[in-house]
């Protein structure tokens, strides 16, 4: 396992799993179990390297498990379990011009799509947004595959000042012939992007991240409302046509264990987890 820290809360893990790296495709996710007593955490694949046989995950330390991973996962650590690739791969073919929007942590999982679209011959416009300059990561990686790129930041410390929807508007104004928009990020950001593209009737794809247990279609916990249907994000998704997604439903369901999450985090923090304030820069 390799690791790099992007900021105090955001870190990247590069996990060696040659078989998974060989078949992983843009849009898919993995389920990680940190230790024997751990929960099953779904994480979208941020990158994969078929030659080196690695899967890359970019994780934000927000809850108990992600913080514990931040603390415990070092070069050489072994995960208790990782299953994947899960979910349907993104459909890439038949698109000539695409805008890929990534907000905050969503910047990472949108990267494989950018690369796949580029390799399939599409004209790719990247719109990535961060809160501020210090949180920016993978800029170079994106520039390599994007024909055009806009960076947005909340405070204007880098790129344009404003949300990703502003960057998205600008790109759509400039390229009226855009075939598709792919937006990945927190539900609220995906909803904002969806509402931005809706009047223009541009096909928009979002990658949903509801709460999951098994990730194989067995528990129904990740069900989402898509138009009049109920679908399972883990096996029917995670990508769906944004204009049919019921975001209110998604946002309400994402918060269903808030109280327990808080409790777990509190308990873990109090039990001497030695939260590190410095951030060790390490790379594989």
């Amino acid at each position: 396992m390799g690791r790099e820290d992007f900021s105090e809360t955001t870190y990247m893990l590069e996990i060696s799993d040659p078989m998974m790296a060989h078949v992983a495709r843009a849009g898919q996710f993995v389920i990680v179990v940190l230790h024997e007593r751990g929960e099953r955490v779904p994480l979208t694949i941020a990158d994969f390297d078929r030659e080196r046989g690695t899967i890359t995950l970019v994780i934000q330390a927000v809850g108990k498990t992600t913080r514990q991973m931040q603390q415990e996962c070092r070069v050489g650590t072994r995960l208790f379990g990782m299953a994947g690739p899960l979910g349907k791969p993104a459909s890439i073919g038949g698109v000539r011009k695409v805008i890929c929007v990534g907000g905050g942590l969503g910047v990472a999982p949108v990267f494989p799509q950018v690369r796949a679209f580029k390799n399939a011959g599409a004209y790719v416009i990247g719109v990535i947004g961060f809160r501020n300059k210090d949180l920016v990561f993978w800029e170079e990686k994106f520039r390599r595959y994007c024909d055009e790129m806009i960076i947005c930041s909340d405070d204007g410390s880098v790129g344009i000042k404003g949300l990703v929807t502003k960057g998205l508007e600008m790109s759509m104004d400039k390229h009226a012939d855009t075939d598709r928009v792919v937006a990945i990020g927190p539900p609220i950001m995906m909803r904002a992007c969806t509402e931005t593209t809706r009047p223009r009737k541009i096909e928009t794809i979002v990658s949903l991240n509801p709460i999951m247990v098994d990730g194989t279609g067995m528990c129904g916990g990740c069900r989402v409302r898509i138009g009049d249907d109920v679908r399972m994000a883990c096996v029917d998704g995670p990508e769906f046509d944004a204009h049919t997604v019921d975001f209110d439903d998604l946002m309400s369901r994402v918060g269903r264990f808030k109280e327990q999450e808080r409790q777990a985090l509190e308990r873990w923090t109090n039990n001497g987890c030695n939260l590190r304030t410095d951030c060790n820069r390490q790379s594989s």
């Binding site: 299953a83 194989t216 279609g217 916990g221 409302r225 109920v230 096996v235 109280e259 873990w268």
Partner: protein, 498 residues
Amino acid sequence: MAGKTIRTIPQERTPMPVQDCHARGMNFAEVALGYDEDAARREAERCLLCPDPACVKACPVSIDIPGFIERISRGDFRGSYDALADANLLPAICGRVCPQEVQCEEVCPVGETLEPVAIGRLERWIGDHAIEQGWSTVPYIEPRRYRVGIVGSGPAGMACAADMAKAGCDVTIFEALHRPGGVLRYGIPEFRLPDEVIDAEYANLERLGVRIACNTLVGRLFTLEEMVGKLGFDGVFVATGAGSPRFAGIPGDSLNGVLSANELLTRCNLMRAREFPEYDTPLPLGRRVAVVGAGNTAMDAMRVSLRMGVEEVSCVYRRTRHESPARREELEHAEEEGIAFHWLTAPVEILDDGKGNVRGMRCTRMELGEPDRSGRRSPVPIPGSEFEFPADIVVYAIGTNPNPVLGQTSNLKLDKRGYIEVDEHLATSIAGIYAGGDIVTGAATVILAMGAGRKAARSMKAYFGVRDTETVYELGDQSATRFGIPVFEKNHTRVLAY
């Protein structure tokens, strides 16, 4: 009359001790405590040892029932275990979860006038005794060049794996979750089937040389076609289970607090949410849980809820107790534990508390009308009988749909509903790939899945052209040894646990 003895069997069925119904509602320890040696021998006496036993025919895996029971009454427990394990790899599991009352025990002639012989309890006792003693039956296995991949580590997969390993094949089981056992692990709660029993049965499989690869979702990591193609498996058995839970499709289904029995059970059993926050996965259940459905899964969900500390657990079922598809013992145990049953009741809407959480259900009373295709009288709503049913959590245990992953990722022929189509030998539309268990039949029982696993193994052996080791070594000289193993033992080495 020479050779014929007339004996009187004990008239009363030997009762099995159970945990007190008040105490057990608070713990996850096993409810039914099982026989001890005396009780087992007494119950074994009740078997008539019929020359043409009906029970064997009623058993999905054709266990030699009089054979193993007769050995118990003689005190030859090891022999009894061998007879049992010959047909059924998992006696400790099946003794606990099989619906014996509609299989072997239903046709037992003793049952015509008295209570039938408690075959299931005897099976369980032998299974437990074998685990205690560390017995396992590992025959001499001649390695063959065939490789078998099994998709799913539940009962069907386990049964098929054991038979193929005994036939000398190199067997690997692929499991998508992080622990093996399938429904035995995530579905059936510990108070019915303790984890140690599953672990012990899995240890037996490993002694046969079976490998288990967890965290492997076949279809996504590699496809079925790749398994029989470049991965070099000569045969594949698909036993993925029924999979995808059904929801009622009524307003309010997506509220927080509405979950499938699968989710509830998986969180509690596999992820150990009952020990949250020691374990990371939560399962908040509130004060009142209403479970919709009255099958075995519903019973498990209700009894788990009770043990998680829920004050009021109710069952809402649109038919009557008579139509409930649950195993009788589970239904009785649930009633004893104080679960409130609301027969002839069906939800029509789940009610919102205004914050996206469940506050209750609007239900309607039902009455039974004409019999439907399953022969059960179908429930019809009584107009104007709607009422509110308060609940914090609503759990659906109303059946499953087939899991779509293999359908999405292979060219396997499916039927209209999405189950895998097989012929009478359980062969699918792709050569070398067999399928069985719930993914073929829809939700059924552990023993039927095991039966399917064994049947698929027979077909696969015929397809490979291999015979069982036992048949191969019918040597004339009974004192011979082969690779140091006496042949008269039918190549069984009796391995003690470490």
